[in-house]
């Protein structure tokens, strides 16, 4: 995507535009993710078609569009919850064709879910430790027999989990049951769990849904902090335009499974097609 342009006066047709809060900095635009002609059909219905997108190594990209536009489907294609009918996905130049969800995660894509999917009955700490599954490893029998490697790696897992929880200042909640957390905390925990898998691309599906404005503001700062600390690419689906316009360097607009616009926040805000998709056609029928 094109480089970040300094924020201009928002076009008045687009809902809730806002100021960019990203400080001036160089971002690594060498592609980590390349989607080429990606598409999927459900039965006879084409849910996503000819989806092309490139995301840079430390870029924050937004995926927006009206409800039912196919945004979550794109995430499901990237993480191979659905196998694409057409097209290729290159992650760090490597084709992910034939991989399943597990392999894609190991290759470096982690995600959160629109309808939160935590391990409700387990503690917050265990949720993060499960995210660390492939990062801190020891064999099964070491656990059963309580060999020294078990104690060493468990200690490491505990420390890493606490360190990750610190991003959102959630260490105090470590012993709580994940399902009992308030909504916002559950969303944050999902992000921490995804980060624990050490991804190079983090997919956030409506991270600010259900959050109040001050929580959203915190989240925006935290997303930037995550990108800067971990030096990873983040792609997010969000309906809160202040968040999208505020932190995304590049935005892709989807409608009826088709990309209708790509560009910087400013370009998107000025794009008549986007305005039409959100507000309906200006022309009256008949």
């Amino acid at each position: 995507m094109s480089s970040r342009v300094k924020n201009k006066q928002p076009t008045k047709m687009v809902p809730v535009p806002s100021h960019s809060i990203i400080p001036e900095r160089d971002i690594d635009k060498a592609p980590i993710l390349e989607c080429q002609h990606l598409g999927i059909d459900f039965g006879g219905l084409t849910a996503v078609n000819d989806f092309n997108l490139t995301v840079g190594r430390t870029e924050i990209a937004g995926l927006i569009g009206p409800n039912g536009a196919g945004k979550t489907t794109v995430f499901n294609l990237l993480t191979k919850v659905y196998q694409p009918t057409r097209g290729t996905i290159l992650l760090d130049g490597k084709d992910t064709h034939g991989m399943n969800t597990v392999q894609v995660n190991r290759a470096g894509i982690a995600r959160t879910f629109q309808n939160i999917r935590l391990f409700d009955k387990l503690t917050v700490e265990d949720n993060v430790k499960i995210g660390l599954h492939n990062q801190i490893r020891y064999p099964m029998w070491s656990g059963v027999l309580r060999l020294p490697s078990y104690w060493k790696k468990e200690k490491l897992a505990h420390e890493s989990a606490m360190e990750l929880l610190h991003i959102f200042d959630m260490e105090d909640l470590a012993n709580h049951q994940a399902g009992s957390l308030p909504y916002g905390a559950q969303r944050r925990l999902e992000i921490v769990r995804a980060l624990a898998t050490n991804p190079s691309l983090l997919l956030l599906d409506e991270p600010a849904a259900g959050m109040n404005p001050s929580e959203t503001a915190d989240l925006m700062e935290n997303i930037l902090k995550i990108r800067d600390t971990f030096q990873i690419a983040i792609m997010l689906i969000e309906h809160d335009m202040s968040l999208v316009m505020g932190i995304c360097e590049g935005i892709c607009v989807l409608n009826f499974g088709q990309v209708i616009a790509k560009g910087t926040p400013a370009e998107i805000q000025a794009n008549p097609k986007v305005i039409e998709a959100y507000l309906g056609s200006q022309k009256k029928e008949g």
């Binding site: 459900f42 979550t72 499901n76 919850v81 659905y82 879910f113």
Partner: protein, 292 residues
């Protein structure tokens, strides 16, 4: 000729499986639960029919109708007491409850009617048609069973396609929430499904025991499980699927029996496993995608 005889026996047995499988498939399609106790409703039906015709000397048709009435009530009561409170519960809990109900019926029967096998008198009579100089035998039971199965399947297909209740059933099987919003009484529809399934179980019980006359409290469980296999085989939720699966399974079982009696059940279950692995949705079923 023995091949043809086996085929006829297989289709007859398969028709019984098909009738039972219809009950499974309708309940599974609409309530999304595996009614493990369905096989034991068959057993209850057979006992009622046995006592009505044997003990009280009622004509067979009355016996079967009485069994249908009792089973219908039983099915609805089971649904109300055991399954309805668990509408929102995880499927594991519902399945364990259904197993509990199955055991409850079996052991109640054991206490009421004792474990000694009863010899069931055929509701159709013992006659048979002999063709090709007696080389090929078609019993009246076999004929009635096959005809009953076809009639029931056609009637159910018409019912689900053309009546208001039938359409409500299809709506509930697609999306209970949406059906509720459209003013469909979901609880009543599910009760109705259990009623129909249980009435069919009574018919199946009478026909099964007419062919295999040993009646015990455990009589229903094996045909029940096999009929579920048949329903899965044909594609659960599909009425023609249940019929197709039932008949195929019956034929496979009879041929396996001709080969080796001891392992015929193993063959039937092996078929189930292979079907589920190769085509999890069954022959005529459709795959459902989990929403993420």
């Amino acid at each position: 000729m023995s091949l043809l005889n086996n085929l006829i026996n297989g289709i007859s047995l398969g028709s019984v499986y098909a009738i039972i499988a219809l009950g499974y498939t309708m309940v599974y399609g609409i309530a999304k639960m595996l009614n493990f106790a369905h096989g034991d409703v068959i057993m209850v039906g057979a006992y009622i029919c046995f006592f009505a015709t044997g003990q009280f000397g009622l004509p067979p048709v009355v016996g079967v109708i009485l069994a249908m009435v009792v089973c219908t009530v039983l099915g609805v009561v089971i649904e109300r007491l055991a399954y309805k409170p668990l509408r929102q519960a995880p499927s594991l809990a519902v399945l364990i409850t259904a197993i509990g109900v199955s055991y409850f019926l079996q052991n109640s029967a054991l206490l009421l009617w004792k474990s000694d096998p009863k010899s069931f008198t055929s509701v159709v009579g013992k006659g048979s048609f002999k063709l090709f100089d007696g080389q090929l035998t078609i019993t009246h039971v076999a004929l009635v069973t096959v005809v009953a199965c076809i009639v029931i399947m056609l009637a159910l297909t018409w019912f689900t396609g053309n009546t208001k209740m039938g359409k409500a059933m299809r709506a509930c099987s697609e999306d209970k929430g949406a059906a509720l919003l459209m003013g469909i009484d979901v609880n009543r529809t599910i009760s109705m499904t259990f009623a129909i399934g249980s009435a069919l179980a009574a018919i199946a019980g009478a026909l099964y025991c007419s062919t295999y006359p040993t009646l015990m409290p455990t009589t229903g469980s094996l045909p029940g499980i096999k009929a579920f296999t048949a329903a899965v085989f044909g594609g659960i939720g599909s009425i023609p699927g249940a019929m197709l699966g039932g008949i195929l399974l019956g034929v496979i079982e009879i041929f396996a029996k001709a080969f080796n009696t001891q392992i015929s059940d193993a063959v039937v279950f092996a078929v189930l496993i292979i079907v589920l692995l190769v085509k999890p949705a069954g022959l005529l079923g459709k795959t459902v995608r989990e929403k993420v």
